[in-house]
């Protein structure tokens, strides 16, 4: 997806916009007046302590979580509450989950083709050919005929990325894509993501992999207790964070 379009258009409409987004889980104020805008081709990494609302933020962007107030726009179009139109907009935003969530009853190939066939109404043959290319791109084309349970975690997560790519999304959301992986498999998934970023994919990534974040991010978002406390360049954030909370958080990880 290495198709950077002309820069004036890039500047004009952000791919993802959140304005004054608020959300409660009962008493808990899980998202507190979140404002965020992600430009085309930008890689935004969200960092923060456990329970700070990173996953919830990620999931509100394609409305897997509803919000109490505020506005979410994808490529300039407000996210509707439900129905056909919501599905259409969701199709434009890929999502990669911590637990992979590959369809357990379908083969690897079918996992990648179901979106294009069912949602985009692509001819089966065309969908299969493209799926094979994508599987090759993430290095799991040899496994196409297997079911997810027969693959390693790292392989499954790469299939999940291929499944998202098959929809030609305007952006992909990653919620801790490597947290469920054994250490030796983390690298293979991060490599695929690094390549995607280099190809110009718009990405929002929640991760605890600080080296990866520093290397791949255009911008770091630091969250705590439901609020965005700091937005910064990776260089600045990791060397001279503006907030004490961010400094404490970075120290706490370093000590591990």
């Amino acid at each position: 997806m290495a198709n950077k379009e002309n820069p004036t258009e890039t500047a004009a409409t952000p791919i993802i916009t959140l304005r004054h987004v608020d959300k409660h889980f009962g008493q808990l104020h899980v998202l507190n007046d979140i404002n965020l805008s992600v430009k085309k081709g930008e890689v935004v990494v969200i960092i923060g302590p456990s329970g700070s609302g990173k996953s919830t933020l990620c999931r509100t962007i394609n409305r897997l979580e509803t919000v109490d107030a505020g506005e979410i726009m994808i490529d300039g179009v407000a996210m509707p509450q439900e129905g056909r139109h919501l599905a259409e907009i969701r199709a434009q935003v890929g999502m990669v989950f911590q637990a992979f969530n590959l369809f357990a009853h379908k083969t690897i190939l079918d996992n990648v083709t179901i979106g294009p066939i069912d949602v985009l109404h692509k001819p089966k043959k065309e969908a299969r050919e493209e799926a094979m290319q994508l599987l090759k791109r993430v290095g799991v084309d040899q496994q196409a005929a297997k079911v997810p349970a027969q693959l390693s975690g790292g392989q499954q997560q790469r299939v999940a990325i291929a499944r998202a790519l098959a929809m030609h999304p305007k952006a992909i959301l990653f919620d801790e894509p490597t947290s469920a992986l054994d250490p030796e498999m983390i690298g293979e998934v991060l490599d695929v993501m690094t390549k995607l970023a280099a190809d110009g994919m718009t990405m929002v990534i929640v991760t605890h992999e600080m080296n990866f974040a520093r290397q791949v991010a255009d911008r770091i978002i630091f969250m705590d207790a439901g609020s965005i406390l700091e937005e910064n360049t990776p260089e600045q954030f990791f060397t001279h964070p503006r907030t004490q909370r961010a400094q404490d958080f970075l120290n706490s990880i370093k000590n591990h």
């Binding site: 199709a91 935003v93 992979f100 069912d118 079911v147 349970a149 390693s152």
Partner: protein, 193 residues
């Protein structure tokens, strides 16, 4: 079953009542209803339907509950992944959730089929009158009666045995061996490439 997991509150309540009612009331009561009460309201059924209808009704509740438990056993992430691809609710259910739910509950459904089969023995209630008429003949042939029972029992055992065999074959033919289904449910996946 769809009603009970669906979005509409009224539908949910209505199907819950229906399911709990059909599940909670013994089959025999339903049979008496169709046999004795229904004709009073002008509902005249053949002997076949007098046994089929009540057995079907009480089985339907159990089957609905079984399917629902299967649907609930499918991890939420499966639905979320499908939604995030832009699949519509109906497609998510029928292409992603239900096929997996059905695989989980095949064994339970087959056991229910066995129960249904046994329930058909209640047919004797429907033909109660006939049986009374013939009872004198039967009683006078006590030995014969016993062997009739034995033969009948044998037929039921054979049919149920076959049903169980079919259930195992069906589960296998669905592509995914049960052990693999369980594996993927637990989300563990670290066995080799």
């Amino acid at each position: 079953m769809l009603g009970r997991i669906g979005k509409s509150r009224a539908m949910r309540i209505l199907s819950t009542i229906l399911i709990e009612f059909t599940r909670g009331v013994p089959t025999l009561l339903f049979i008496y209803f169709f046999l004795l009460t229904a004709p009073q309201f002008g509902l005249k059924l053949s002997a076949f339907w007098k046994i089929t209808a009540p057995v079907a009704i009480s089985a339907a509740g159990v089957v609905a509950e079984t399917l629902r438990s299967g649907v609930n056993a499918v991890p939420k992430g499966q639905t979320e992944a499908a939604l995030s691809l832009g699949m519509r609710d109906g497609h998510v259910f029928f292409k992603i959730v239900f096929p997996q739910a059905f695989r989980y509950v095949i064994p339970a459904l087959i056991s229910e089929l066995v129960i249904v089969l046994k329930d058909t023995t209640f047919a004797y209630v429907v033909n109660y009158a006939d049986l009374m008429q013939n009872s004198r003949v039967l009683i006078s042939n006590h030995d014969a009666l016993l062997s009739v029972y034995l033969v009948t029992a044998l037929i039921y055992i054979v049919i149920n045995f076959l049903l169980n065999k079919i259930s195992v074959a069906l589960a296998g033919r669905n592509g995914i061996p049960q052990s693999v289904i369980r594996q993927s449910q637990e989300g563990t996946d670290n066995y080799g490439k």
